[in-house]
Symmetry: D2
Subunit: 265 residues, 4 copies
């Protein structure tokens, strides 16, 4: 159970998102309010952003988010229109490796995931890997279920010339659900993914309950900002994702659409 | 506000103390129950022990205690009759440096401290340092109030050929209280200190309230063990330290004595 | 190209091996003399040892060996009759993850490896993994060729009730060579492996040159010690391994035997 | 003995300076060519830069420079007209603490230092500290001679309303030399300091030899760049600093001036 954040909108400094909000990611790392299990999200963290040219950057660390003075510096320096962030709560048996820290990146895609494939090592770990092309296989550097879900997404995205981010996401959920059914496991998968021009966020689970996910779009105070987060950053203007739903928002319009996802099972 | 533990008794493996108890130091690091402030004790940790020849060893890390597989290994290997442990909650502005992690050691002494000198940097930091001999001055490697209290203890201990651990501790509290009065600050100082043959533990505060401290000595189940800890390790047989009190126990007898401390102010 | 060390003999403190020798592993980490490529072995390190009951322990860190005060403490505390050590020089693209640090362990086995499977990610990475049983597959926590060779060894060892450490090692080399031939790559594999009662060390390469490896057994000065190391620890009594050779020594006799290995190709 | 770099000129990405040059700071960290002692500069590193508004930022890490993927990201993102960088070789007894990593910063000043006060702990450590105002005293977070020299500079700079960076630097050298004479020690002090608008670099020693320092200003190929570095970044257009000399360059003109420093002894 990690804590996620995603942003699309007018250019802001990262500290707006990571530190300055009432219940910022910084605060969620040591005082999370809606974790399904565990106490803190202190097993590393990461942030990803796009520069003006649309090139994605990542910064990750295995320390607790609150224990990294470099992140404070960086957050005061970096400005971006599109950002994802993540505070980690490691799964059982997962090492405190930088390779296990998110966001994951491939080409233009940045990706953060919160959730769990039940008994991942014993269930979908090997089947997912063995379903991948060599190129995608070699992208994987760590051991987490999260990175393997990302690999599935990359594979799906690249396997068809016609695929869009949305169709690739649906395809990924479909594959995951099929595999989970086949290997008799359950999973939850809240995720935020971006290509710099659009952000998609999903709350989805199969045979279990998905963690919380919220979005905010304050047409009055902040007309040019869409934020998605595991926990509300403040008391105002946050809407909970329904179960099995997806938000999609593009930089041009900044009008988020919420879609209910079919049950792929 | 850190969490402390101290042990004197028959030889045990460190994991008995650090992991296996119901509310072990491991658990206290991510789920502390009696912190006066803060959420977790995840800014590093340390453990110190004596080998059969009475030589003190220390192991310290800036990661959260729960995130160190080496500590698990070590705790399964090391056996000792005398141990101190510590999970850190850094004070404001204190860096995540190994030099700021406890236990501190000088000669045979191992020392862990929980508490705070209010506004330390602006109040007693410089006066304490400038009161020290060159030799003790050069012992200090970090910035914490804890290490400076330890330096005061070492200085007091070494300044008189007749001093015992107990007289040095009283002398240290007296000096601290005098300085705090002079510089108009307050402090709390729970500490556990050992020379391998005896353990002294103190709960003391000046113009503020001391954090919790407990001791356990189960004459029936564990006749040969005395444990001191910031929080009870289990529901049985733990006694709270009165305010302004000191426990002292020697390896020979394992009979702890509790003394109320005078107000040095 | 890492630096390895292995020890079997009378009980010694680890610091004898890691720090006190003229050209100790400590020194080899910042001033290696016989690296085939690279400048220093500063991408982490590890040490493994057995306690009196024959239980294996490991200690690993991603810092340079010379930058770990905990290792100095540990090395002064731990005594063992059987030890392996390792200073890492990461391969290109390998993350500085604790999971990529050796020694690796499974059951009683401790294992350190120096060498390289050429273009591992693109050649044998996937074929090795896919040849493994589920149990062995799940042992792998990192990305290194070294760990995958270890997995092959574990698999070979466990696949036959009659296998000995020696037969498992030969089987592993045979499989590796066959795979390398099939996937048109080369590899070098210097390794030291132990079960606590015996140490086997191999210098082997296929279509390339193996790194250096030496052994020492000073019948006069140190009749009860056999040491294997990537570089001579001193100027005296060290013998170079011939190419394609294996040393085997048991705790009972401490008489090493050197065997030339067949070409498995 | 650390390796330093400083830059003033047209806006460049940090990777130009840190990675892309033939003998970049990256390369100097594992393969330094002109160290007076030691093998590598792998005990941490740091980089400092100014944004368009002239605000200084720092990024520091205790890992070897080559082992930080975040630095690569950052170096591809950050653009600046004024930068300092540093790869650390820790002095004996200095902990691998982030607080001991440079650059140091105070107000607009960024500062990196290479050199040594001989037997610092036993000689000038305490005298320097005790000469400081409380405000400067509290700036110091680590234990290095470098940071204490920086504190002297800050103190000198702030003690007179008329002081310029140059006069403060001279005052600092004068104080240091006087103290070294008084306490019978020697020191070398290569340093690069900036306020974002100008860079000053000094090669100075008292009773010992200063480390190497070079500057480059290629009027033809790179008319808008002045670089200072411990080792030449390439084979062309580098000039060695004379002993006891100072370079000063301002953003407006980018015309460096070299001044021989008086002997303050």
């Amino acid at each position: 159970m990690c804590r996620l954040i995603g942003y699309l909108g007018n250019p802001i400094q990262l500290d707006e998102l990571l530190y300055k909000q009432e219940h910022s990611l910084y605060k969620q790392s040591y005082n999370p309010l809606e974790l399904k299990s565990g106490a803190v999200c202190a097993d590393g963290f990461g942030v990803g952003w796009y520069d003006k040219a649309g090139k994605p950057f990542i910064y990750r660390n295995t320390n607790p988010l609150w224990n990294d003075p470099n992140l404070e510096e960086l957050s005061n320096y970096v400005q971006s229109t599109c950002t994802v962030g993540y505070a980690r709560l490691a799964g059982i048996g997962e090492a405190l490796d930088i390779s296990n820290c998110q966001p994951f990146r491939s080409g233009k895609l940045l990706f953060v995931h919160n959730g769990e494939i039940l008994n991942f090592q014993q269930t979908l770990y090997r089947p997912i890997r063995e379903s991948l092309s060599d190129a995608t296989y070699q992208l994987i550097k760590g051991m987490t279920d999260s990175e393997h879900i990302f690999a599935l997404l990359v594979e799906t995205w690249q396997s068809s010339p016609d695929s869009t981010l949305l169709s690739a996401l649906r395809g990924t959920l479909q594959k995951l659900t099929k595999l989970a059914s086949e290997y008799n496991t359950s999973f939850s998968t809240n995720l935020i993914v971006s290509d710099g021009q659009a952000v998609a966020a999903i709350r989805y689970a199969y045979r279990t309950q998905a963690p919380t996910l919220y979005w905010s779009c304050d047409a009055v105070k902040h007309p040019n900002q869409v934020i998605v987060a595991s926990e509300r950053l403040s008391n105002q203007n946050w809407t909970a994702f329904p179960e099995q739903s997806m938000l999609f928002v593009q930089a041009e319009s900044l009008q988020p659409t919420i879609t209910l996802l079919e049950k792929f099972a």
